[in-house]
């Protein structure tokens, strides 16, 4: 009986695949591949040009040699930790709801039924890791000694290992039903091991060995071979996949289907809500602090703080990590890789998407706000105050991290950082508010060329505002290179960036509905 069932499973999957291929418009597909390849090549070439900057100094080279593998290892450890957390929650397999109710309830081995899906997921994460690794290798080749091709290849291999380790660790954790707590503890251990390697300038963790793979052109072959240990994770994951909890798979299946649709429609707000459901990230029952005293500053101010003070710990950690990441990116941009300034802006935008929760909730529950004796502009304006303060705090974390990393010392960078933090905060918050208001970017009711323009504006607008917000930092750096006073150069640009963000915000957000 089981043999008939497994044969049916294989035949039906083959038939469904064949049908999917038959439905592909090949001319359209080839055109899309051509366009993506063309833009990727142009983008890579453009980014490479931006990165070009100045070559590393001997001090920086020595730092790259000493810390490069451990920093790379920390990235790999972060991917493994994220995989473990995802597996602890029941991920990472993305099944169709029908797969759960039809295939996984049939009397055939769940390991056999799930292995094909797990391999597909491993293939995708491996591919994604390879692409990201190759891009990172390309960036490294612009400034570090060594030939271009070895950097790209070693980056790609390290990315491949990272991608496979991410999904592999998730498969192991969900197959063994590690649970959130145990998976979280192991994830903390993995991260701690890599941090110890970083601080002690040692290479003991397999993640650090994977970091060394990325640095092969500088370090040469040796201990990096030990990174192959990490390939045990996907293999073990395939072995344990049959133990995946059906309850978790069913929950993930339903949410993942909605998530896919929301991504297709570029509906950022729905993506955020579904992602929170997938990671079971609900607000705390008890707030960290109670907002007490009379509501002198108004109900919206008070309501928004009440929401922020109910943030669960993972959200607080994520937002702080984003602030630190913005600081690291800004520091790297300051030290000679200008393109990374964009990463700082985007990190703040992602943090701001959490901070504008109160505003987003108004769109989620329009009846409540629609019954107020005020226009939507009145409400929107008041909902921006708390996010500005929260994101400013996140940006200050970034400034502190950037200042700590500055070789020239804290004092020189702190002033520039704080001046740059203001437009970056305003750009990120207004960008995030634009993202979460008004539903999906792609609205089927808005047809024709005007609809397409609106869709592009909604997709491109928020990151563009976040990028405008970090322009003053780039201007300050250019001024330093030209031996001009950085603060004097950055300040007017900062004012201009704030005005642009406010003007866009006023034009779009404060319109009365």
């Amino acid at each position: 009986m089981a043999r008939v069932g497994i044969q049916a499973l294989r035949e039906m999957r083959r038939a469904r695949r064949r049908r999917a291929y038959e439905e592909i418009d090949w001319i359209d597909a080839v055109y899309r591949v051509y366009v993506i390849a063309l833009f990727s090549a142009l983008g890579t070439s453009f980014v490479s040009g931006l990165v070009g900057g100045r070559p590393v100094t001997p001090t920086e080279l020595s730092g790259a040699l000493d810390f490069g593998p451990a920093v790379g290892g920390l990235v790999v450890a972060g991917a493994i930790a994220a995989g473990l957390r995802s597996g602890g929650r029941g991920g990472p397999l993305v099944l169709l709801p029908a797969d759960v109710s039809i295939v996984l309830l049939a009397p055939i081995s769940r390991a056999v039924a799930l292995r094909g899906i797990a391999i597909r997921q491993l293939r995708f994460s491996g591919f994604l890791g390879t692409v990201v690794g190759m891009i990172a290798g390309n960036l490294a080749a612009q400034r570090l000694p060594g030939a271009y091709l070895p950097w790209v290849i070693s980056g790609g291999v390290a990315g491949l290992i990272t991608g496979l380790a991410y999904t592999g660790s998730a498969l192991v954790a969900c197959g063994l039903r590690a649970g959130r707590r145990l998976a979280g503890l192991i994830a903390a251990g993995v991260l701690g091991w890599s941090i110890a390697d970083l601080l002690g300038r040692t290479a003991t963790s397999p993640a650090t060995f994977a970091g060394r793979v990325a640095m092969l052109p500088m370090h040469g072959l040796g201990t990096p071979v030990l990174a192959l240990i990490l390939l045990g994770l996907p293999l073990a994951g395939l072995g344990f996949v049959g133990g995946t909890s059906l309850e978790a798979a069913r929950r993930q299946a339903g949410l993942a289907a909605q998530l896919r649709f929301a991504v297709t429609m570029q509906d950022v707000r729905t993506v955020i809500l579904l992602r929170r459901q997938l990671s079971a990230e609900g607000p705390r029952r008890r707030p960290w602090l109670r907002v007490s005293g009379p509501a002198r500053r108004g109900p919206v101010w008070r309501r928004d703080w009440q929401g922020v003070l109910r943030w669960p710990a993972p959200r607080i950690v994520r937002v702080l990590v984003l602030g630190a990441a913005a600081g690291v990116a800004a520091s790297a941009a300051w030290e000679g890789t200008p393109v990374l300034v964009a990463l700082a802006g985007l990190a703040l935008l992602v943090a701001a998407l959490d901070a504008v929760e109160g505003l987003a909730q108004e769109d989620d529950h329009p009846t409540m706000s629609g019954l107020l004796p005020h226009g939507s502009g009145w409400l929107t304006l008041r909902h921006l105050a708390v996010p500005m303060i929260v994101v400013m705090g996140v940006a200050v974390v970034g400034v502190a991290v950037g200042a700590a990393l500055a070789p020239a010392g804290v004092a020189g960078v702190l002033g520039i950082g704080l001046v740059a933090a203001i437009p970056a905060t305003v750009g990120a918050v207004i960008g995030a508010a634009l993202s979460v208001r008004g539903g999906a970017a792609i609205n089927p009711l808005e047809v024709g060329p005007f609809g397409s323009v609106l869709a592009v504006a909604r997709i491109v607008g928020p990151p563009l505002l976040a990028l405008i917000g970090v322009v003053p930092l780039a201007v300050a750096r250019i001024a330093v290179d030209a031996h001009q006073p950085a603060l004097a150069a950055a300040a007017p640009v900062a004012v201009g960036a704030v005005l642009v963000s406010l003007a866009v915000g006023a034009a779009v957000l404060l319109r009365e509905a």
Partner: protein
Amino acid sequence: MAEPILQTIDLVATYGDHVALERLNYRVRPGSRVALVGPNGAGKSTFLRLAAGLLEPSGGEVTIGGHPAGSIEARRLTSYLPDTPSMYDDLSLNEHLEYVARLHGETAWEDRAADLLDRLGLTERGGDPPGGFSKGMRQKASIALAFVRPFSLLLADEPFDGLDPRSREALDLLVAEAAGGGAAVILATHHLDIVERASRCLAIDEGEVVYDGPPDTPEVARLVGSR
């Protein structure tokens, strides 16, 4: 007396702090037709999902034919008809029927599938993907999938909801035939007429059994009517 096809021993289900089922001890014998009643959130769907192996108990156990619920042996014996049908967008109803039957080791499925489609009024739609069906049609398609394969225990979560009178009759007859053939059937429902056709009624409220006995008593009428 025949061995129970379903048995729960001190079955507990919790969602965080919420107790959905509290130490449930229950047996269902082959050929019996059990109506599972209770208000919304009482624990009916949780009980059915535990028996189907979709959920795992927080405590105690559920066995199907002596095997733990969710094991390959238990899955072979159990057919589950969910409250929300899940079907593939890229398969026709006929292909679904073939797939499900063969996954359960059935090689001679065509006649059974054709009969089910005919009785449920779906013959004309067999070649269409269920993605384009109305809610009632999807429910009927889901019923056909539950009955196209052999089973000893049918777990149905509010299967009569959304059906037209003719389809309700057809489903009622299919259930009666299954029970007559020796399969046990557990139906979660809010409809008194369906409860009265069962051989037994089990009422759950806030995770606890509040009634277990014949289906045609004033107590049952009160429980079903009080929701």
